[in-house]
Symmetry: C2
Subunit: 370 residues, 2 copies
């Protein structure tokens, strides 16, 4: 029995959208789903109790960050990441590839892996397929990710081609290094904006029979229509009986567009990051609650929302908290944004179950301003 | 019927300690009690829901801060402070005197009141007895405080004498300006470290028949034994059927010593401030959870504590959160410290009800390191 399996509950008859259940050692979670990001073993500003209240299922954490601080050995000694951060539900760890490659000047890529300098103390560090897998086994998430290269946008064709071939070789090495039976290792399809490279990457990884697949390297600066075009092209190349995870995508419109193309899982720092800047997500688009126009607005942040923040506090109060730099302000906007995306996915799931994804899509776009 | 009344439930037969109930328009609260401070209409890092979970009864807010931002008129328009910050239980507002006088170079005192510059935008502002009372009536707390001068330590005798006489004249003017029947105005005994001035201040204010009395101007830098000596002297000068509130005192030992001398109410930023620095309060004294020695300590922050933080997270995790500058870290230490002080007061109340305050005191000091 695989540690993690995807159960397809309903395939929309008119669109690519699908509703499913992701079974993991820490519970079964309905898809499509948005996974809040807890980079350093904490979803910024949230407690685990609050995450449960907003129905978070799986959350994300990061190999690069935890490897450097507090160290995977310490987390393992604590009994693993679930116990360390007191989160009984699902956890997915990213491999650290994305972060290491983002260091640009501070890293050097070889076939072996990536040498880089720690952003904390400048010390020389190394992550490669085996090391990233070993670290993720110590952390003990339910789903771990292959160590890959996420190439920038735009990228030269030949560089992109070399990169996906290396990423595929690395994926093989990750599979070979992965020995924990109670966690699943997902492969990551790369290929930049080149359809033939996406097809090649998908084909090679599908042959390796990963228990689930991510699409990486999108939402890296390209126009949204181009991202959607690549999703149209790539998602159908992945097996229908396995979960499909679109990495690093978190705006409401991109989530809706992704689900329509058959994506089951999403993660992104966007909702928590913009929350800390005083911006909330709504079905009508963003609202910058911190703005002066809301100083005497005694209505809720989002009048369509039932979260703790919207039920109990006014825009005027939240704005005051931001102006006064009170922590409660960013706590409230964070609760709202995560609740909003999780609920959006739940509502879309209901629509899919009723074979009404297309109606949902139309209704969403009739109100939403990107 | 007075807006606020103190009900003496039990006077300890051997010490000054007493257990009571403070009745307010927003509920009745058991005393002795510690009141968390929410200077800017938010107890730093806490939500109202969490404050209820740790059994907070009354909380404090500040006239000076709310007058400048967001403005008392805005709070009044929101329906008052309770509604603005979503706190249905008791609120006490300090008069702003303490903050205005702390501005040192930025303020000028006259018989009329104090001219000062805003710490936010440098604008010229004024607070005096009438204005501070008017602002506090607009905010709408259950208990408001007279506008007083809190003199520094040490202070010249003649300055202190002039100051308490002015504070007494100001107290009279506050009483005259106060017209809201649903809130109580407390007087504040001052007098620095001079017993005769404390006696004079207490006598004058008691003659004015305030519904409750605070002792101000202690814990301003003097040695603790001197503070206790002044409490021994001053508390008995206040009427036994009214609440006694020791302002700005919040270390566990000072709370215990204060209760033994007949104090019913305390407030202080100390528990929340040191929490944000990674320090917690315990029955054995302070623990700097942020310290390296706790990096692999997988036990709770305080093994005698039942708060959300101590029940669910380890010292190692909380230390990691502080090192990684995660907001959850200071949330957890804040929850713990407030829970600790509120519970300490509850336990002391139980001991008083059993006429065992002296035993409690002895047991407390057998473990506590100040």
């Amino acid at each position: 029995m695989a540690a993690v399996s995807y159960e397809l509950v309903k395939q929309c008859s008119k669109t690519g959208a699908r509703a499913g259940i992701l079974h993991t050692p820490h519970g079964s979670f309905e898809t499509p789903m948005f996974m809040p990001v807890g980079t350093q073993a904490s979803v910024k500003a949230m407690s685990p109790a609050e995450l449960k209240t907003i129905n978070a299922g799986m959350i994300l954490s990061n190999t690069y960050h935890l490897y450097l601080r507090p160290g995977h050995d310490l987390v393992e000694e604590a009994g693993g990441l679930h116990k360390f951060m007191n989160w009984e539900r699902g956890i997915l760890t990213d491999s650290g590839g994305f972060q290491v490659f983002s260091l640009s000047d501070l890293r050097k890529i070889t076939e072996e892996g990536v040498k880089f300098r720690s952003h904390i103390d400048g010390s020389e560090q190394f992550l490669g397929p085996e090391r990233a897998t070993e670290v993720q086994m110590a952390l003990g998430a339910d789903i771990i990710m292959a160590f890959d290269e996420c190439i920038p946008y735009p990228a030269d064709y030949n560089y992109a081609k070399d990169s996906i071939m290396r990423t595929t070789r690395w994926a093989r090495r990750c599979l070979d290094a992965h020995t924990r039976k109670d966690q699943a290792l997902f492969g990551i399809v790369q290929g930049g904006m080149y359809k033939d490279l996406r097809a090649q990457s998908a084909k090679d990884l599908v042959e390796m029979d990963f228990p689930g697949y991510a699409i990486g390297g999108l939402s890296v600066g390209e126009p949204k229509p181009l991202m959607y075009e690549l999703l149209d092209h790539t998602a159908p190349l992945l097996p229908a009986h396995k979960a499909r995870y679109l990495m690093g995508v978190g705006s409401p419109d991109c989530l809706v567009e992704g689900v329509m193309r058959g994506i089951d899982m999403f993660d992104c720092v966007l909702p928590t990051r913009i929350a800390r800047n005083g911006t909330i997500m709504t079905r009508r688009g963003k609202v910058v609650v911190r703005n002066a126009e809301y100083a005497r607005d005694f209505g809720p942040m989002d009048d369509q929302c039932s979260c703790y923040a919207c039920k109990n506090f006014s825009r005027a109060y939240v704005r005051h908290l931001f102006k006064a730099e009170e922590i409660l302000g960013l706590r409230l906007t964070t609760i709202h944004n995560l609740h909003f995306l999780i609920k959006l996915m739940g509502e879309m799931r209901e629509a899919i179950l009723q074979d009404a994804a297309a109606d949902f899509y139309k209704e969403f776009w009739s109100a939403y301003k990107a």
